[in-house]
Symmetry: C2
Subunit: 395 residues, 2 copies
């Protein structure tokens, strides 16, 4: 195990190189056994940290990212111009207060923002893994995060928090390593993926894998499945919103066109133009094979996998857990959060549920910061800060 600032080798050339990125290597001496049974390594994990670890090392919070996220959950102060994906929640005086907490955020295994993924160079063949990369699970992501956390000298996390695929990771921490988490926050995530979510993912994978430019995954050095990934993202963007929010935002408005232009296929409704823009934007920053592997990991996600029952897996959760649902979420509807909550309640676990009332759909967890803040603050104050011994950092 080692931590370096060196760039990892990757055939994905659009990685955002950030001065605050750190890299942790594991599985080099001894490969890591994945859920599939496969031994795999070495694995490089890109991560960023914010704030300072307290002398008693009891103020660390791990933040886990969603499908297309990365380790940059927030900027690093005035010298870092680029805001992170959870910027309004992470920083001095914010919910995840970097004056109080030591925040760790890492790019997931199979990711394309610095961590080992399908675009990484397989040290045996000296070529990118492509589809020879092992199929991984959310639990595998967490397994590697645990090694990073240990490497940073942290024996127990004050909290693990995340939304969507990040929420799946948060749940997984609570179930798999209950002794290592003092609290958990899971937002807009199921305890196991449903058939409809799997279906959406398969359509997106299909768009990528039937694009001839995908080349069975060996497209590195070529433009790659630009159309397929773009189409996949367009669909993804629909599932992250809601009928209501899309209607509020776009209505039936048409782009730079008169009503006569409506009768041409090249004329776009605003919502079409928006989707195309989002599709292109993702292509510029994301690797298509990573999209395949991460959506597959989400499909395979089932907290009960490997346990006699789903309930028995949830029974392993010890620490206080805050589950947040988004009222208009069509990707992971609130019933899926409530399923977890009701089981935990039945088991007598310290679970809290809150619902963000918003038309924004699944993306609510990346938008409704003001609505989430009081709930998050109250939970962290009661379950984390009050139990954090070293309260003196920077204050």
């Amino acid at each position: 195990m080692q931590s370096t600032q060196a760039k990892p080798m990757s055939a994905f050339t659009k990685i955002k190189r950030r001065p605050y990125s750190r890299y942790f290597t594991c599985g080099d001496d001894e490969p890591i056994r994945l859920d599939s049974g496969q031994l795999f390594g070495p694995i490089v994990i890109a991560y960023e940290t914010y704030g300072q670890l307290s002398p008693t090392r009891d103020n660390a919070i791990l933040i886990a990212h969603a499908l297309t996220g990365d380790a940059h959950c927030a900027g690093h102060g005035p010298d870092d111009p680029e805001p992170g994906w959870w910027e309004p929640l992470v920083g001095p005086g914010r919910v995840f207060d970097t004056d109080r907490y030591f925040i760790v955020c890492s790019n997931v295994l199979a990711g394309c923002q610095g961590s080992t993924g399908p675009a990484s160079i397989d040290p045996i063949t000296n070529k990118p893994y492509g589809m020879r990369f092992p199929v991984i699970t959310i639990r595998d992501m967490v397994r590697v995060q645990r090694l990073l956390v240990k490497h940073l000298g942290i024996e127990q996390l004050a909290c693990v928090a995340g939304g969507s695929m990040g929420g799946m990771q948060a749940y997984t921490w609570a179930v798999e390593y209950p002794e290592m988490v003092r609290s958990t926050i899971s937002i807009a995530a199921p305890g196991r993926s449903g058939a409809q979510a799997i279906a959406y993912n398969e359509v997106m994978r299909q768009a990528i894998m039937t694009d001839p430019a995908w080349l069975q995954g060996d497209y590195y050095g070529t433009p790659g499945p630009v159309n397929g990934l773009s189409t996949a993202r367009m669909l993804g963007m629909i599932t992250y919103q809601s009928a209501e929010s899309m209607m509020l935002k776009f209505g039936r408005d048409v782009m730079n066109a008169t009503s006569r232009d409506l009768f041409h296929f090249h004329t776009q409704f605003q919502v079409e133009s928006y989707l195309h823009y989002q599709g292109k934007k993702l292509v510029d920053r994301f690797d298509a094979n990573t999209y395949l592997y991460l959506t597959r990991a989400c499909d395979l996600f089932d907290l009960g996998l490997g346990y006699p029952t789903y309930e028995q897996a949830l029974a392993r959760i010890d620490a206080p857990i805050l589950v947040i649902g988004v009222s208009s979420d069509i990707l992971y509807p609130t019933q899926q959060q409530l399923e977890v909550v009701h089981i935990l309640e039945k088991l007598g676990k310290p679970v809290e549920y809150a619902e963000i009332d918003t038309p924004y759909g699944h993306d609510g967890f990346l938008i409704e910061f003001e609505k989430m803040t009081p709930t998050l603050n109250a939970f962290l104050e009661k379950n984390v800060w009050e139990h954090t011994e070293s309260k003196c950092l920077g204050k």
Copy 2:
């Protein structure tokens, strides 16, 4: 105008040739002015009829089909082995009682089941239209249906009924030709397409149009955009169901595989296998360009188009109208049916609303026959049969 049994010329070779198909030609002497302003013709419309037109010609019901439907809404008795897409509702003693009513069902303009569409041979070039086919609207479909209805000697329809895109046509009849409809039934359809529905359609079109085998629409004589159309259908099938119905039907079950097989991309969850099957099945019976034109017609659908306001368009509706929503519809949610209903109520129009309570989603209108039957029977009895003079046919 003429009616023949001759096969129309089409480059779409997978048309189901049915002995009961009839063909009506219009726009041959004088081309038809479409909503786009374009003059177009000749147009062939494939249609089927059931039952007998009464001597006073007051018992005709037009049934309009949805996106991938056709003129075969029901079988034609014991000699016709193939059931229609609304089989349980159409036939002797059924809701659309062929002992009482003369049922007409036609394949829409731009369709691929016998009516003139993008696969038809352009008489000027002697080649298939492809993307040179004009962009058409739901109103254009109805415009041509009206000519068919007139050709059949019908001055007024006892009822126009349909679900989904068929429901849009029903609404359009009521708004555009109020003097020609005695009643209307619109199921699981909006009065104007919303941004989310447009978005889904655009992703589906994108899947087709970025398939290199699409060849800018000039793929006739080649296999065509098999992957693109299949992916489009896979997505369509998700929007026709609901999270609940998919979970009930497929759960997280895996096809012929052990849990170890989960870690291969070729292993499919049942829901994935189902979607692939549905995708392939559509490719075997549907023309990709028609998919493009009909989804575009749905996007353009807005009853208010060409009127000062949406409300003023709805104010044209005269006859009793039954609006049915499907509780779990994610494609055209019940709010969209209720929007129409509330406006009509405010205008003092004879509107009735019923909701099918079902987990089946949008497809409920093709599944929940038992739940729909009492409502449909009551509406037809009161608003159609009681006002039909010739009640003696076959009874």
